[in-house]
Symmetry: C2
Amino acid sequence: MTLPSLLLEAGSHQLEMAETLIGVLRFLLIFLAARTLAEVLVRFQLPTILGELLAGVIIGVSGFHLLVPPESQVAINESFVQLISSLADVPAPEIQQLYNEDFLILEGVANLGLYALLFLTGLESELDELVAVGAQAFTVAVAGVVLPFALGTIGLMVLFQVDLIPAVFAGASMTATSIGITASVFGELGYLKTREGQIVIGAAVLDDILGIVILAIVVALGAGGSLEIGPILKLVAAAVVFVVAAIALSRSAAPAFDWVIDRLKAPGEVIVASFMVLAVVMFAATAIGLEAALGAFAAGLILSSSKHTHAIQRAVIPIVSLFATIFFVLVGAGMDLSVVNPADPANRAGLVMAGFMFVVAIIGKVAAGWSFLSDKPTNRLVVGLGMMPRGEVGLIFLGLGTASGLLTPSLEAAILLMVVGTTFLAPLLLRVVLKDKDPGADSGDGSSTPQPEAQLTA
Amino acid sequence: MTLPSLLLEAGSHQLEMAETLIGVLRFLLIFLAARTLAEVLVRFQLPTILGELLAGVIIGVSGFHLLVPPESQVAINESFVQLISSLADVPAPEIQQLYNEDFLILEGVANLGLYALLFLTGLESELDELVAVGAQAFTVAVAGVVLPFALGTIGLMVLFQVDLIPAVFAGASMTATSIGITASVFGELGYLKTREGQIVIGAAVLDDILGIVILAIVVALGAGGSLEIGPILKLVAAAVVFVVAAIALSRSAAPAFDWVIDRLKAPGEVIVASFMVLAVVMFAATAIGLEAALGAFAAGLILSSSKHTHAIQRAVIPIVSLFATIFFVLVGAGMDLSVVNPADPANRAGLVMAGFMFVVAIIGKVAAGWSFLSDKPTNRLVVGLGMMPRGEVGLIFLGLGTASGLLTPSLEAAILLMVVGTTFLAPLLLRVVLKDKDPGADSGDGSSTPQPEAQLTA
């Protein structure tokens, strides 16, 4: 309840009013920016995720400071603070504090959006097709990790005289594909169920697992400690068990799920039961040291052969439309582009290195598209470009590197530009390459068909 | 990303892993408890919201301490802490701290669920019917506020020698109907669009507004300060303007909304645009001192004559199924029933008073069902019972009273029992009264028809 200003404990109720106003206004700004840009982009037949990322850049740390993660230490837009402060009659410093405290809720909802997106991606995947392209996906994942890592590390050491440890860290930051961005672009363009789409999704999942292992090794090296092989082997074993179990369960668990659903009578049973499966698999993935997001994808895969799959998809899509948008806007909002501004002379040293990393990051992943043998016609460029966006995973690497003090400002700027460049360029190039091809649905032609239907019919 | 234990900054990543595990496990426990009970209840043709509230009591502060709001100061279940602690390799005290910090996300999502529920209630309301029963709803709201307040305050003073201020406060705590519980029960039973349903929803909305005004007066009195009439008049004026504007907009804003939707091309436009309308109206309601929840209902009402209403409903229902459940489980989890345990002699003094308040709380609202003139046949008992549940609003009053130090322990226990009793009894009695009547759909017969369809076809 929000209460007027004459109350006992008026302070705490005005704070509650301010909290609500901050939360609602932030929500509005996120969607106003993201959807305005999305409307422009669909008219150029470009993926709307670009609009979400760009919206984040515009209202975030690099732009108007309306959406600023507390860890960025950036002051919130003055007008935003003044508006809330005068409406709720709460002093400006407390507005800033409330803003930061409640950012946790926004991040929680954004993560829910990412999990829902990967759950949906799993639901829309074809297990048989995914298993059929398993060898190709594995090769693409390994090549897409080894090539950028080797080229990047060696290049930084030889061409730019970077020390071994920072070079290894920067090389590692180029290895991880953003499965969220890839899944979103392929889903929106209606390409998820194509052979290329399944290779990319499979490879992105494996890449995510490899990324965790690489990060474990690199950070252990960076800490100067001895590299213990035991925990890493345990992690690899856990990952293998998890993938095998998920595939095995996809064959057998869906009928059990359907049997349970048929016996449930309380309303809303399909959506609630499927989210409980999602939670169980996410819990298992996290408990063995993998990412919760991988668990979300595996949960979708397990339920992809349920007879209720379409009902689950219909229920999950609104959650994705709302909350995954918040996720991608937050990714954009966290990018501080001031360090790569070429107008600032201090940045120029980093920019040459950034250009090098950017090129290697593209070449490394695109080349991975040619790394496998295939008896069926496969568009290798689509596979390579699909693996290109580094997105939030690259930003996590950057944050770790910065926190550990391993990276020079130039190297930090170079990693950021590599992440930003690949993230924005991949959806653009994919759209160009896929332009003349139609996987069946008209989902990519900028018609007003909502994403839900497009994804379901693709 | 969750990382294994050998990492640099291992602490922070293990904490992240622990956070994910806590969040996912809490989600699982909430739904496991709520849905198990819901399955039992539907088989007795009882509203599932009873299961959600009861689930909260069982896993919450009064039960297993698995779901404990930080402000309750109750220690979390030892096994829960041990499980997460051993899985994430994080010391137990830090688990407790993480649990408390992240409770904010759960509460944020729960509030989203309440807003979505009231938005859906507004969408499913018939504006013409609501306006047609406006006079009746107003009378019910006023009578349902005046009767319990007068009977309660005078009774407590005369029969139990309670002082004026605490008696006024306790009387005031009996005035506010929980619109969330009422909307949920009428929605599930398919009675939202009946004449009785619309009177109850209209009255509950007005009751909410009256509640804010009463609370403002009571708390000002309680603080011993002079009662300023200016701010209260301003609040009343704001409320009147808000209601009139919402009704006026329901007639004219929907075509404008439809015009905009028809011009949007980015996927997911209906759900995103409708949530943006929701956010704008919630912002307006909060900014003038009303509750955000009222804004959510008004937003639904404004969009109820859109040609996209059904698409919006379909998209909102999964969000309600998931998040409103969390809201009601949290309401139950916050009820500390140990103070009303009759086995404890210290509680017995309060229990007699509690019994009195409970009876007055029922009589006051049920009698309000007979307070209006009607030219059409109306089931007055249904109207009275619909206004009965105090739910979360009663708990907010209790929290305020406790914080202000106005209430004796006996009086606190009495208010709690009144809230718990009316909250649990109302859905039960409504089900009994509505048992032999069928508003059209078979949504109340415990068939496996999911709530979505039931609500849409009702």
